[in-house]
Symmetry: C2
Subunit: 107 residues, 2 copies
DNA sequence: CCTTACCGTAAGGCATGACTAACGGAAACG
DNA sequence: CGTTTCCGTTAGTCATGCCTTACGGTAAGG
């Protein structure tokens, strides 16, 4: 269940901010940390979690490391949510039908 | 940012199980706890968190309390993810364009 | 009434997580 | 080379989260 890691990663506000900051384009850890109210090692750890969830990717650029958004994690979560959504909808349909004709329940 | 609470609520596996169990129809806390490997008070606390995220709703039925799935929380998260998704896509487009013609950057 | 069933809440323990400060390694730069 | 920059990792602290046990309160049932 890869969407579990994605949900855990997205549950943290700082990680969401980092991800949204990466929407502007690939950035180094230093640039990324400058946009956040936490220290650089904290950003580094968050990036590790985001990478484990397939939400970011790294590319060493000489001395620095360039982080970019990766669609895989989000895609995974989207699929899970869509499946969940249709399950909920069908559950609602079944519930309406159950409430509409309860004669079958107590003959 | 209501999706924050939704993400935090969905980050816990037990809460996801509870929610998926509720797809089969409204259930009481006792029935719900019987499907989970944790105690009944634990389920009660999880239901509190799910309610705060607009993922479940309660309806007192005499002695017991009937919990049902609520679409609002999921809808909220879906919207957030879709907006995020399009942002990521446009960021990719901008990045491709940036990589295609870097002449403007260093004249 | 008294009992039983069902449930929410409080208190406490235990694990997990987020953050900082400090260290160490690798690349660029003189 | 020595230095500086950039970064990941570690150790340690502090807060948060999840769980259980125990308690109190309300509704049904004899």
């Amino acid at each position: 269940m890869p969407y579990g890691e994605v949900l855990s990663a997205l549950a943290d506000p700082t990680r969401r901010n980092i991800l949204e900051a990466l929407c502007a384009g690939p950035m180094t850890v230093g640039e990324l940390a400058a946009t956040q109210p936490v220290s650089r090692p904290a950003v580094s750890q968050h990036l590790k979690a985001l990478g484990a969830a397939n939400l970011v990717s790294v590319e060493p650029r000489g001395n620095r490391r360039l982080y970019s958004i990766r669609r895989d994690g989000l895609q995974e979560l989207r699929w899970y949510l869509e499946r969940f959504w249709s399950d909920v909808l069908s559950a609602y349909g079944a519930e309406i039908a159950r409430r509409a004709k309860p004669e079958k329940e107590s003959p």
